[in-house]
Each structure stands twice: as C-alpha cells, then as structure tokens.
Assembly symmetry: D2
Homo-oligomer: 342 residues x 4
C-alpha cells in the first residue's frame, strides 16, 4: 500500500509498504479522507512539537475517516463496508484516568501520528474497534474526518456546562476556534463574540454565526470595552489562540463566576493578571483533546446541528500531500482546513 | 382600565377598574399579549389548582409582554417605551432559597394570576422592575409572552447538563413538551424522540424537529423497544405529561446514569418501578417554574435559536377571552397555545 | 485448599478443591477476612436475589481482604506479601459505562460471589490486580474487608456533593446505613438524623455520632415533624432501607432543592408522593455499588476518618460459616456485621 | 459608646461616639469578640488595600460575634439576648450575582470595615438581620467571630467538590491556610500535605492534622518530588499564599483533572507555567469571601468538626487594640490569630 513519510523537516516521501495485519481484536480501515491539523504542520516544519520529536521516517495524520475492509474474529458490531470515523488515541484503559472516564489524560495513550506512532497518511490502518465509530450515509467522509477537531471543541463545551443562552467569547478563530463557533451555535449560544487578528478568519466566524467579531491587536482592554460593552461581563470564554495576549483578554473579559476554557496550545510560560481570577471567582478549565466525544459529535453531525465542511478551504490527493503542507504554510492562501483525499 | 375577572368557574366578567398606582420602586406596563396557560384553563374550569383556590373575582394570566408606560423615581435601566417580557413571580429575596439562587422555590413568592394575586388579563400592571425584562425589536410581543413557558423548558435543561449530542426522549407534547422540543433543538440534541397519545401533537413535534415520534398508549415497554431500539438507552428523559404511564416510561427508557427531568404536574400519588432507579443509577430532577432564566431565553429568541411562535394555534382579543377558554376546552380545535391580544 | 459451598438454600458444605492458577496478568491472594453481606444471607436463605439464581454448588462472599501470595509475570506494583483489600467486581473496561468512568454499571461485570461467579469463602482467589488494592499496616484485615460496604456509602456521598455542613437524614441503620453514618461523620455533616425501626440499631447510630435518632414506625410525617422540626427541611437524605415507608419519608423530609440518594435494595414497585418532587425540585440519585472508590476509602481508613470496626458484632472462622449465617438470621443476636476469619 | 478609629496609618484613637440607631428592619448587637484579619493589619500599616483607601478616621474589624440587644419592629426570628455571629458583607440582593446565589460577588456589597464602611472595633453595631446568625451556647464567642475566616475556607471547599478521600495540598499556612487545614480534616481529607516557609506555621499545621508538612523555599519542584512522591499527583490544591512561587507549586503539583482553588490575595501580575494546565486539564477556581456559608460553618462548629480556637495565639481588650496590631507586626511573636475582646 501507499504511505507518505516525513523524511526530515519539510521533506516527504511516498513509499509502497505492506498492508498492516489485522489481529483478532482489531479492524482494518481503508482511509478515505484525512484533515491536516496544525500539529501535523508543526511536525512537518520543525520535526517536533514540544518534547515530542519525530524519529524519521514517520507517518503523520490523525483526523481520519474511511471504510472497514476487514474485522478480526473477536470483533462484534463493526462490519466490512461500514463507513467510519477513526478516533486516533487508544488509551491503556487500566490507569486511574482511564478508569475514571478521562482517557484523554492517559499517560500511556497511543495516539496516531504523534511520534513514534504512525499516522493515517496511508491507504490502510489497523485500529482498536472501540475507537472506530460508524457514521451514517448522510455524514460525509470529510465530516467523518472532522469529527476529530469537532471533538476538541465538544470537549471544551463539556467543561462549560450551562453555556446555553449565555454570552460566549471565542478568542482565536483558527480551526479549533471555528469548531468552537460551530459548536456554540449548535449548543444554544445566546450571544457570540469572536476575536482574532486575521480579518479573513473573523469574516469566516461571522459567516458561521458570530454576532460580533473584532480584532483586539494592540488595544487596551478598556478601549475594547468602550466599543463592545458586553466584553465586560462574558459568561463563557474559550481561549483558542494559546497566546499570552489572548489569555489576558480572556481573564479580563470573563464576568463574575465566568467560566474560561483554555484549549489553545501555547508557550510554556505566560504572565497573567492574577487578582481578577480571585475577585471575580473565575473558573478556568484546561482542556486537552477529548474523551467519549465521538458518538455525540457524530450524532450532532447526523442531526445537522454542526457541519464542519464550511471551514474546508483546500483539498489535495495523498500524492499531493506536499502541496497541502505548502498551502498550510502559505499565509496568502488563507488555508483554514485542508483535506487530503485517498 | 379594562380587566377580565373570573367570577365563578366557567364565567368571566369584563370590568372597568382604576389603573394601578406605580410606586417609586416599580414600573407600570401596558400589556400587549398574554398566553393562555394550562393552569389558567384549570382555574377557569375548576376554580382551583390543587390547594390554590380562586377567591372570586380573580384576574388570571401570567405569560405576558407589554410596553413600559411609567417608571418609579428610583428605577434605573427601564424606560418608558421599552418593550418588555414580564416574569410573573416576585420572590422575597430574603429566604434561604432566594439567597442561594433558587428563587423559584421561594415560599413567599407573589406569582401573578395565582390566587390571591391578580394576573395580567388587564390593560395595565405595576411590577417589580427586577422581573421586567427588555426585549429587542426583533423579538415579537408573542415571543415576549412565550418567554414564560420557554423558561420552564430552559429550567428543565439547566437540570440536565451535558445534554448536547445525546439522545433525548420527551414524554408529553403539550405546550411545555413542545417548548422542550424547541429547546432541545436549540441546545444541541443528538437524537430526539417524542411520545404523546395525540397524533396531532406528535405531528407538531416532528415539524419542530423530533427525529422520531410515537404513541405509547397501551403498549408494554418491551414492545416499544422492539420498534424503537434506542428507547432502551436514553441519555436524557423529560417527563412533561405528569401521568403515571409517562413516568413509568421515563424510568424504563432512561439509560445507565441517565438523567430524568420531571416537569409535568401530576397526581399526588404514583406507582413507579423502583429497582431500575438503583440498578441504572438514574438521576431524577424535579423541576418547577424557573429562576434566572428570562435573560437567557430572551437571548435565545434574539439569536433565533428558539422561536416559540410555531406552537401558537389561536389568537383572540381580551374581549374574547371566553372564546379563548372555549377553544382550549374544545378537543376538536387542537389548541396548543392560545394568545390573547390587547 | 478449603472452600465452603452453598449446596442448597440453608445448607453449606466444606470441600477441598485445587488452588486456582495464577495467570500472567493476575495475582493470587490468600484470603484473611470476609464480611457477611445481606446479599450473602439472602442467597443462603433463598438461593436467589431477584433474577440471580444460585447454580449449586456455589461459593458466596465478596467483602474480602488478604495477602498477595503470587503475582503473574506481567503484573507490576503488587508484590508477594502485600496486604490487600479486594474489589470484587471486575468490569469489561470496553463498554460505554466503563469508558465514561461508571464501571459499576457495566453490564458485563464479573462480580465475586454473585452467581455464577465464585466468591471468597475459600482460602485462595486469583483476581485482576487492577481491583486488588494495597492497605497499609495500620489498616486491619477487618477494615480491609469492610472497604467494600464503606465504598457503597462513599459512592452515595459522591452523588451528594455539597453535603458538608448540611443536615443529613439517614433512613435505615443496617450495615449500609451505619456505613453512611460513619461516612457522614467523616465528611463533615452539620447535623445528623437517623431513622430505623430497631432501637438497637438506633443506639448504634447514636454511638457513631448521630445527633438525633428516631423510630418512624406507624407515625404520620406531620407527627414526626412536630417532634423533630428539622425533619421538614433536610439538605441530604440517604434512603438505605429500601422500604416504601422509608422512601416516602425521604421524599417528605427532603427540603427544597434537597438531594436524596437511594441506596436500599427494595421491592420492584413502590408508591410515592409525586408532587413534592416537583414543587421542591428534589434531586434523586439512584446509587449502585461503587466505582473508583476503594483508593479513597482506604485513605480515609488510613487517615482515621472512618473505622468500620465498630459495627462488627460477631466473628467466626470459615469452618463455622454456618454459625455466621445462623447469627445473621437470629433476630435476638443483633448481628450488624459478621466477620469470617481464615 | 466606645469605638477605636484609625486616624492615620499606624495610629489609633479611641473615641466616645453615640450608639447607632436600630431601624425597624435591623438589629443592634453588642460586640463581644473581633478577630484581627490580615486585611485589618494591612489597612493599619498602609492605609489601603489595593484601590481601597481609608478615608480617616475609620473603624476597622469584621470578624465578629456578639449579643443581640435590640431588634427592629419588623424583625422576626432574632431576639434580644441571642448570641450571634455577624456576617460582615451585606449585598444588594438585586443584581445578577445576588439573584443567582453568588452574593459574595455583588458589586454593591457593603462590607464592614472595608472603607468607607465602619467596622466592628466598637461596642455596638446595627446590622441587617439576614446576616446575623445565631450560635448555640456550645459555640464560644471566639468561635462565633472565627466563623468568618472559616467561611472563607468553607467557600474554598465548596469549589472543590469530591475532595473527600483525596490527597490535598495546602500552600500557605497562615490563618486562611490553617482554616483550610481544619476544614480539610473536617471534610474527609484522605492525605493532607501542607507547605509554608515558616516552620512554626508548619508545626501548627501538623498539630491540626496535616500528614506531611514541608518548606518549599528555594527548591525546584523536581527536588520536592524526590522527597515527597505524592506531590506529583495531588487531587486538590488550595493556594492560600498568594505568592507566585506558591501558585507555580500549585500548578506543578496538581494531578491530571486536579482541582486548584486560588484563595490567597496576591500581586496583580504573576508568571505561571501554562501548558501543564492544558495537558493535565487542571481546573482552577478563584475563590473570594463566601456566600451562604455561615449556617453551615456554625453547624460544623456546633457538631465539633471544626474548632477554630487552636489558631488563636493572642488576646487583647479593645483598649489594647494597638498592642494587637503591634503583635501582628512582630515577626518574633508568631501571631496566628489575634482576638480582641470587648
């Protein structure tokens, strides 16, 4: 089968390798579509994300959908021909985190595409059927792949109970921020504000339903509030930029007893205003990947509450994966979500 | 001003009475629309609801919108001309329930239309401005009045955190059940089932977005499950019928760790299957009226997530209030929500 | 090794059987103490509990402590000589309930002593090390066995967040109710009321710290309130009797927004007052066994917050297991918790 | 009556002023004991706390108990002679925060002793009876005054549901940290670690029940973990130092899905490690004063779960209030809690 490897930062190589064997407890899936994630691009450019270093050659990719082509003897439920969305992280199911339902925090998780685990930029994968979820015919393979970033957003809202009818501020309108915009719209936002420094992203947020969008760059919080008074008492803030400026805005905008979800990957050290957290009794929730989210997100896609597809800006075949990375790195091209088709 | 009184069960009388005085802490509102609630009809027919007995003559009505015509000297925020939705219950703000945020459970609440407190089937009311909420021009007076039943549904969902993306079963598709259908759609239901014994109500539920509707009358739970397998593992059940059969269905359908909101007014005594509550660790939540819901519901109406108006089936002027009650009592007319216009 | 079998209701037989083999993923434990649970007695007397029927011969027992005597090759953490408490239920770790942290609700759970799974009235067991928990030297083997019923009580309180400083009513002062009394004392009860029909149990509840105990038998709720005014506004109710009378008392005593945990095994059908659940917005929580409770309960025992041993009233050797069941069935003997020693 | 005023930083003056008038909705209380709070000392030394500046002359003091000496005509419940604990903050009961049960976050709160509102270093105060709580004879006036700092700790734990049986780390063992130690012991801590830079405070924490105390000054987190392995996976962290070093330790020590309550007043800006919040999904809760805590804390004192008195190290009469401040400022004297008696 065909697989695309990262040989060294910036350099891909397509190889023909044997198909993986499907064990008795596993299923084999023919990959149909894979979304390009920011972390894929970071690995492609730098060969690492934080302490995770690529040991080349390595297969990237983890936002995937496909069709089941083989099922192990012991597998029930899944059948050959099933259209599926693949949840990329397989946890140990034996640690404290797994036993308490937070398997996204499992230290032994095997996460596709994160070194040293091979990802899905290849024709076939073998995966644990517990983490292979069927999708109905009305959900496209693109949507099936986008269940992954939508699940990140779903996990954010799982940490923000009571968001319905409230004011929500989303900071950062990249793919995760826009997944948050879609999720907010689906989950009953009362009023939705979105901040980003890129006007094209703000335009997209507005298309998806944001009531008010703004560029906070270089402005004091007090100046922003003069313009947008509701910024002073936001019920729920989703920080998806990972930048210090974004986090500072988040803390300033959160209202009394406001909830603030942190989802943006950022720098190791940040400087924040401290006393507002105390005086407003702000509740901050770190959020990381997702657990038990895929079935719910697939139902939301099925029911039509979220769509995912409006953020797709580019499509390439697996053979043109390098063009996908190029588009992602080209500031002019305004790539939001790039899909790779097999 | 004109006011319509209930003289005795079944008999109304329109009288001309003095307008109420607006104290320094109060606002006066010219009523524009009032929805007819099931409790109004019950008072009209029987002169009582449970232990609450009408001391005639009495003014009914509590789902109301209007325009501010006068504001007391000490009042800030509200101004003459503001279009408003009136929250009918004014709690004491001094008891344990009020201080902890559950003012819907206040024992001293003064609730419009519930004897002996006069309701809103009259041209003017004077009300505490804390419970008079402005609505934007894009929200109609009909919607402004329907904030009340929508708030009942909003309160139900406030007791069901984590409903987004899940399977929801709503039992009983009268006005509160249908408000629940709308709210479920707005708040991100994954799959929505609705049960009722009246096919017209089921049809309306389907129009509003229910994925599957069914009439459970006279069927064993096992029979229902054969037909609708997902009935066996419902994440969230909203029991809005108040009937023993409905509550039994709710307990049987709730999945493991399922949440079950009880909102339907029912009989004093019911017989229920007990062990499923234990074995499935079902969580049951009694829900009663609402607290702090109006601002959120008005935002949802403003944002367009909920509409309310699709359930309005009849409209009458205040002079024809008796026709409104007649329509409510006429099984042939299929009255869902009857609006009284002033 | 020695094992005691239930041949038919009321008849035990001690046999010599081979020790179980310890697989590479398992540990072997030499049993030291086993508590007699109400369900053991029920199986002994009737040969069944609900739909669970004993297929004789069967080994009962599931509240157990012991010493590790062998560890499989792949096992880490546990070592020969470790003193341990055995969590009897081994869930599938693959279903929705397991993946979301509620493994107590797993439909595939293999629970020791529940037919057809052999229990711990024998010298050696082989068990999944994930469910074998070390105890420090300061925790006795008796306490190690009592982690099981204490975990049931711990699970009850996990469903009653915010119990600290509140009024708690515990209905039913058998072993689970008394575990609740101990747990309430450890977890910061503000005022503790206990109801039972047996004065000896009430005396024990008082010894363990209950502020007020009473026998509700044959009294109207109004009469009880005259005597004990705080019964009218209880923050948290734990229903451990499983009786209809107990559940009715629970619903009447729960205050507005009160929480009510149902833990007592009871009849299939009960008749309850319905409207108080709505009007007071009572929250009812079915509770069943426990998940992720053992480590916390062992820490509470280690820290000295709970003791368990005060409810032990009788001790027998495994050879005298029949005497244990006889004591349990003898109303005169006031058996609260009977320990079997090996 | 006698009252002690702060004339300028560091200078007190006792004056004879008229007793306050008791209005029809108010009660008059003869003050018996007042605890010296860190904020009192800060006002005494610097004439301000943050933006709150003393307009001299000003009466400090807000941790108070006393005896009711007069009740307004409309007051029910409270009677002359009642021993009481005074909750110092009187909120507006009309804003969003008040109506939702978070009156501690009311922007219009009138808080005794915080400029410009006079405090309780005087013989009589007139107060809103909703915030005057009776205490039983078994609760001392000292304890009645200490309900205030204990309520701060109670509010912290209200933001940490599920703390029972877990590992808790308290950072900072001043009066609030020690109130946290007492509260942790009362509420069922599984294992309690306490960090402070003052060995005398650590000794006191140990006396109150901390399992392990340590001085983190100048040590890398990795070094601390070598010594105290459980520091790497703490379930609940209470940061009561307000220092950047303390907050950094808190974030490092919090385990996956760990909860971290921030209660220490600190500097406006702090630098924190950011990515651990995301990767461990830490939940941070700002906590500020308390709401609806007094009744629960008084019950805990009545029931004997918390005591408060062990942290009292000094006592002075109101005439010697200057000696109280001197003791508070004297590092040699190891003043933990200084009580002023009237």
């Amino acid at each position: 089968m065909k697989a695309v490897f990262l040989k060294r930062p910036g350099e891909l190589e397509t190889r023909d390798i044997p198909e993986p064997e499907c064990g008795p407890d596993m299923v084999k899936v023919r990959i149909k579509e894979v979304g390009l994630c920011g972390s894929d691009v970071h690995y492609f450019n730098h060969g690492r994300v934080g302490k995770n270093v690529v040991v080349s050659p390595h297969i990237l990719g983890h936002e995937s959908s496909g069709i089941v082509t083989e099922t192990g003897k012991k597998v029930r439920g899944l059948q050959v021909g099933h259209r599926v969305s693949i949840e990329p992280g397989v946890p140990c199911r034996a640690c404290k985190e797994c036993l308490t339902g937070y398997y996204n925090l499992c230290k032994q998780v095997v996460f596709m595409g994160a070194p040293p685990n091979p990802g899905t930029f290849r024709e076939y994968v073998v995966h644990d059927p517990l983490f292979v979820h069927t999708i109905p015919d009305t959900v496209t393979f693109t949507q099936g792949a986008l269940v992954e970033p939508l699940s990140v957003a779903y996990n954010v809202f799982s940490n923000l109970p009571g968001a319905a009818g409230g004011t929500i501020l989303i900071i950062g309108a990249g793919p995760i921020g826009l997944a948050g915009v879609e999720m907010a719209m689906a989950l009953g936002v009362g009023r939705l504000l979105t901040a980003d420094v890129d006007p094209r992203r703000l335009e997209k947020a507005r298309e998806l339903g944001a009531d008010r969008v703004f560029n906070p760059a270089g402005k004091e919080f007090e100046t922003l509030v003069e313009d947008i008074p509701e910024l002073e008492d936001v019920d729920h803030v989703i920080e998806a930029s990972g930048s210090e400026a974004g986090i500072r805005l988040a803390i300033n905008a959160a209202g009394r007893k406001g909830k603030l979800a942190l989802v943006g990957m950022g720098s190791d050290e940040i400087s924040i205003p401290y006393m507002p957290i105390i005086r407003k009794e702000i509740r901050l929730f770190g959020t990381y990947r997702y657990a038990n989210a895929y079935p719910s997100v697939i139902r939301l896609l099925t029911h039509g509450n979220v769509k995912g597809e409006p953020w797709v800006t580019h499509r390439f075949s697996l053979d043109d994966l390098d063009k996908g990375f190029a588009a992602a790195n080209d500031k002019q091209s305004f790539a939001l979500k790039i899909m790779i088709e097999l």
